[in-house]
């Protein structure tokens, strides 16, 4: 043992010395590349925080083009969305922000975190129905436009065109047509729908949102239930029990068409299996498309909105504002930030972005989508036949996804809906002002 001590001391010293050198070396470049914010040599530095890591490279190009046109502005892109709230705490938030627009972002809007964008020239070019998706969550001071939609994701049923063609099945436009299609696949030994129930969110955004959105006016329902506040019970006209009941059997019917063992599959399993053609349909949004194509380059995909009634005119798509542009209210670089937002919403920028990312442009006069993977949803979006998923209206403190999962497994609809009523009332009581 004794003999080992000097040796270990020696190498410890040399290791420490090496570590010290590495530390010193690390410090030199770091002090060099710290970029100060605010105008410097007449160049304003804008911080742009966006919420989709997968499009960082795309925005780098957009920023490059923008800087070439506006040499007095330098834009720094940040995709670390987790730093947004700390930025607010530091009183140093990014200047321009994109966020997925739902509950959480609406909270920031109601607190007046974002500046009013209604005077921006580009605001007039936005489809008012899409702007309504944002303002329906509440507006600061009752009339401010705190966010402009940049990218709209429309979700429906992703289907495998090859399997549909091989079985001679046309895209269904009614519920009975959809059921007939499922029966055809089942008879041919093909799983009609690929279910991934292990990831509960896929049940929420899939069958729960689609069926409820197709059979009732979700936005109106949540306006009424919110107005009712904590006085919600099973018997109230605004309760889940009294509104969602008719939708539930259709959810169970969808579940019965899923492949065997759906309960043990997660989203990644589903993508891999569906890409290999193990099912005809997949209740997923456009975000899954890139994953499916990366797993199988030759797969031919399409999407259609799930018909929930037998009136084809009533078929609606589930949408969410995937990216909404905002400027933080206290930014010292307001003029530059507005110029950047104006640039991002120029047709050439925003339309190209959405075309490339299987999404819909928020502009009134955007061209029809040509991407065959999502073109089946184009009519619904163009005609404004869409809704935001019911699941997105729930406060995060309600474990909705787990309730949906236990409903799909246990098939007890009454228990499911009364649990939602109870949960909703509890949260309303806690948060009542």
């Amino acid at each position: 043992m004794n003999a080992a001590v000097p040796a270990s001391l020696l190498s410890r010293r040399s290791l420490l010395r090496a570590a010290g050198l590495a530390g010193a070396a690390a410090m030199i470049p770091l002090t060099g590349c710290a970029s100060p914010s605010g105008p410097q040599n007449g160049v304003t530095t804008l911080r742009f925080m966006q919420n989709k890591p997968e499009v960082v490279a795309y925005f780098n190009q957009v920023i490059k083009d923008f800087e070439a046109l506006n040499p007095d502005i330098h834009v720094v892109q940040d995709f670390n969305e987790g730093n947004f709230v700390p930025g607010l705490v530091r009183n140093d938030p990014p200047d321009v922000v994109t966020r997925g627009f739902a509950q959480a972002t609406a909270d920031f809007v109601r607190k007046g975190i974002f500046a009013d964008l209604s005077d921006l020239p580009v605001a007039a070019g936005i489809d008012p129905k899409m702007q309504e998706l944002i303002s329906s969550w509440g507006q600061y001071n009752g009339n401010e436009v705190s966010a402009l939609p940049f990218s709209l994701a429309a979700a429906g049923v992703i289907y495998n065109r090859d399997i549909f063609e091989a079985q001679g099945v046309a895209v269904p436009t009614t519920w009975s047509g959809f059921v007939a299609a499922c029966e055809t696949f089942k008879a041919a030994g093909i799983a009609p729908i690929y279910g991934t129930y292990k990831d509960t969110w896929t049940l929420a955004q899939g069958m729960f949102d689609y069926v409820s959105g197709g059979s009732l006016d979700v936005a109106d329902f949540f306006t009424r239930i919110n107005a009712r506040g904590a006085r919600i019970s099973k018997d109230a006209a605004e309760s889940f029990s009294n509104n969602f009941g008719p939708a539930l059997p259709k959810m169970l019917q969808l579940a019965s068409y899923a492949q065997n063992g759906a309960a043990s599959k997660n989203y990644a399993d589903g993508n891999a299996a569906f890409a290999k053609g193990q099912a005809a349909m997949y209740l997923q949004g456009p975000w899954a498309l890139s994953q499916l194509v990366s797993a199988n380059k030759n797969i031919r995909l399409g999407s259609f909105p799930l018909p929930v009634t037998d009136n084809a005119e009533e078929t609606k798509a589930r949408v969410n504002v995937d990216m909404a542009l905002s400027i933080t209210r206290n930014t010292p670089n307001m003029a530059a930030a507005q110029r950047f937002v104006n640039y991002l919403l120029e047709p050439s920028v925003v339309n190209t972005f959405n075309e490339k990312n299987a999404a819909f442009s928020p502009l009134k006069d955007a061209p029809a989508v040509s991407n065959p993977q999502i073109s089946g949803l184009g009519d619904s979006v163009k005609e404004g036949r869409y809704y935001q998923g019911a699941a997105t209206y729930f406060p995060p403190s309600v474990p909705l996804n787990n309730y949906i999962q236990s409903f799909v497994y246990g098939k007890n609809g009454e228990q499911f809906l009364s649990a939602l009523d109870d949960e909703w009332r509890r949260v309303a009581e806690r948060t009542a002002v």
């Binding site: 670390n80 700390p86 994953q291």
Partner: protein, 304 residues
């Protein structure tokens, strides 16, 4: 990781004795009576899979192309191998810059933790009869009971006011956050060092600082290694603190930058794993270099 290495002292202990000639005879007689415990060996082989299998998946995944990922059981070795994943991940994360930032945070956190915690522990252990020092030990320990996420927002506010919303602030908080646990480790060890050693140094005219620097700190070597490894792993892999504290995206650390490959609904597995592998490399190297000291620390504790 630490669990799986436990079996190693057995083989590790056998090796150095073989080197010393005086022990040769001893060892030979050992070998004659030596029986292989096959059950234990089999158990260890299985246990080692808990480390080797994920490591294999990481390497295999990093070399796969997107369409190779979905096929088969995942155990198959990719053919052809996609070495360009590493290049793509290197460019996408701006690896050198993120690496330097992480190295800066880690190296200073390790050195800071070693220096601060050992000094604190020495002061407390040698003044145990003073109520103040005993109280301060309890005070430091009580910090271990505060969950970090509870205080993160006030911390962000404070560090921003002090101009520490950068890697230096992360280092500061790592050193600070580690003090309670590291001091706990050190104090137990300092107590086992005979005070007589210090007294003899005092006789020779050493000051308190010299006693610490020349006598105590070198004797703490095994514990230094343990604390150093904890501090290294903690700060090299830390995600939450840099993510929330570092305001400038250009100074962000590797774990945060690697989120680039993980969207809300889509993950670029091959690039992600290539990037994880590059980020893991220093950890593995440091671990292999430093585990000797941890093990010697374990044995010293056992003898006493």
């Amino acid at each position: 990781m630490t669990v799986s290495t436990r079996p190693e002292p057995i083989t590790g202990a056998a090796a150095p004795t073989g080197v010393t000639p005086g022990f040769r005879k001893n060892r030979k007689s050992n070998r004659e009576g030596f029986k292989v415990n096959w059950w234990l060996t089999a158990l260890m082989l299985v246990a080692s899979l808990t480390v080797l299998l994920p490591l294999y998946f990481t390497v295999a995944m990093a070399l796969k192309s997107p369409d190779q990922i979905g096929t088969g059981t995942g155990l198959a070795w990719p053919n052809p191998m996609n070495w360009e994943n590493f290049a793509a991940a290197y460019v996408a994360t701006n690896f050198p810059r993120a690496f330097m930032s992480t190295a800066f945070v880690t190296v200073l956190s390790v050195l800071g933790s070693l220096a601060c915690s050992s000094l604190v522990a020495y002061a407390i252990a040698r003044n145990w009869n003073h109520t103040f020092f005993r109280g301060s030990f309890v005070y430091l320990l009580s910090a271990m009971f505060i969950p970090f996420p509870v205080i993160i927002l006030p911390l962000i506010k404070q560090t921003a006011l002090l101009g520490l919303d950068n890697p230096a602030g992360v280092v500061f908080l790592h050193v600070l956050g580690g003090i309670s646990f590291n001091t706990l480790l050190y104090i137990a060890f300092v107590r086992s060092i005979p005070v007589e050693l210090e007294e003899s140094a005092r006789m020779d005219g050493a000051t308190t600082w010299q006693v610490f620097r020349r006598i105590i700190f070198p004797l703490l070597a095994p514990m230094n290694a343990t604390v150093g490894i904890f501090a290294f792993l903690g700060s090299w892999n830390d995600f939450l603190l840099p993510q929330m504290m570092i305001a400038d995206p250009a100074l962000q650390t590797l774990p945060v930058v690697q989120m680039l490959f993980q969207g809300e609904f889509n993950t670029n597995y091959s690039l992600a794993f290539a990037s994880y592998l590059m980020a893991m490399a220093p950890t593995l190297v440091v671990y292999i270099l430093a585990q000797r000291w941890v093990l010697s620390g374990v044995m010293r504790g056992a003898v006493k």
